[in-house]
């Protein structure tokens, strides 16, 4: 299977760098898989699970906020948060949901409120996905 270079970067460090065969990215308008030779493409991320498939078992990470850029040179994902699923605790997710709920409460006008509501839904579905994943792997 053809491979391509992939980088996952968070503001604090380079989380992953290497050649992979497929990456599944949680895009704002739906998850999408990237294979070698993907068309040049930029998409923002929603909170969710990013799966890296290469040699060995697929690696899963929880990502939040940022964007993915695919070009002929490979794929780069910039995420504000990138935590391997194994290190992610249920409390972290609960905290995230709580923060998002508070943000909705604090919203001053209708548009921000709607935007934050959408974000809250995304966080909730991401948390559900993470839990589902934990059940299948253990």
């Amino acid at each position: 299977m053809a491979t391509f270079p992939f980088e996952l970067v968070s503001p604090e460090r380079l989380v992953y760098s290497g050649t992979v065969s497929e990456v599944v990215v949680p895009g704002t308008e739906g998850e999408f898989g990237v294979l070698a030779g993907h068309a040049p493409f930029v998409s923002t991320l929603k909170p969710g699970i990013l799966t890296i498939k290469g040699d060995g078992a697929p690696r899963k990470l929880f990502v939040r906020g940022g964007f993915a850029e695919a070009n002929p040179q490979g794929l780069t994902v910039l995420a504000e948060t990138a935590i391997p699923l194994a290190d992610l605790r249920a409390e972290n997710l609960a905290q995230m949901i709580k923060d998002a709920e508070e943000d909705v409460e604090d919203a001053k006008d209708e548009t921000t409120r709607n935007r934050r509501l959408v974000f809250l839904e995304q966080v909730k579905s991401a948390a559900a996905a993470v839990e589902a994943d934990a059940r299948t792997t253990h």
Partner: protein
Amino acid sequence: MASLKDLRNRIASVKATQKITKAMQMVAAAKLRRAQQAAEAARPYAQRMESVLGNIATAVAPGPDVPALLTGTGKDETHLLLVLTAERGLCGAFNSSIVRIARERALVLMNQGKTVKFYCVGRKGYEPLRRLFPKQIVKLVELRANKGVTFADAQAIAHDLGDMFAAGEFDVATQFFSRFQSVISQVPTAQQLIPATFPEQPAAAATGASAVYDYEPGEAEILADLLPRNLAVQIFKSLLENGASEQGARMSAMDNATRNAGEMIKKQTLTYNRTRQAMITKELIEIISGAEAL
């Protein structure tokens, strides 16, 4: 003429100070390595962010959909100066050089009849600015309690700036920090944050790479999502550069201090030995002349 005891005390006190400065120098050296690593680790993110945003910003057509963070409010009446400094002193001219360029910019703007506001991060910038412009400081953020800067700190500041900008409290925001060049050279730098500016990208423009990208969702939505993030990234980058610069400046300042203390000890020891010798000679003369008189 100082007595022998005075001299001994003075030497002891300089030696104690030298030990402190030497310890501080070594601590700064260790912290510098960590700060430098952090600054380097953050670089790829900031660069990628800039290049992608630059691409989109040139591709998107100016219009009402374009966020104000990119185009500005169309005025330039109220300026916000974001002054990033350290929480602690004893690091040479590090803090004062940042404050100096911020102050110079403020005076130029005020002479042009603009309103100037300050947003201080770090006590050492706040204190001198409070004396000069007591009424213009909108906010002080202290990062003293935190061990090292995290992205969350930068995000909080960026969030604040975004809210203030949305409320129309300022038109232009500029940040002042110290760019880390090497241990002995830190360059105080001003960078405009809002409206966002991007470095020219001749490579991307020449190959036409920016034209063929597919955007999901649309360009304007991506911009609206990424610009606030970019603000946080830029502030985070400056905070990290500042961290490395601070440790570098402290290291060279403490190196100087240690060397000066060494010189002082040498001089004092010489005086001490001379005085001691002179006293012994004097006592001998007294004894001999006493014996002769008998």
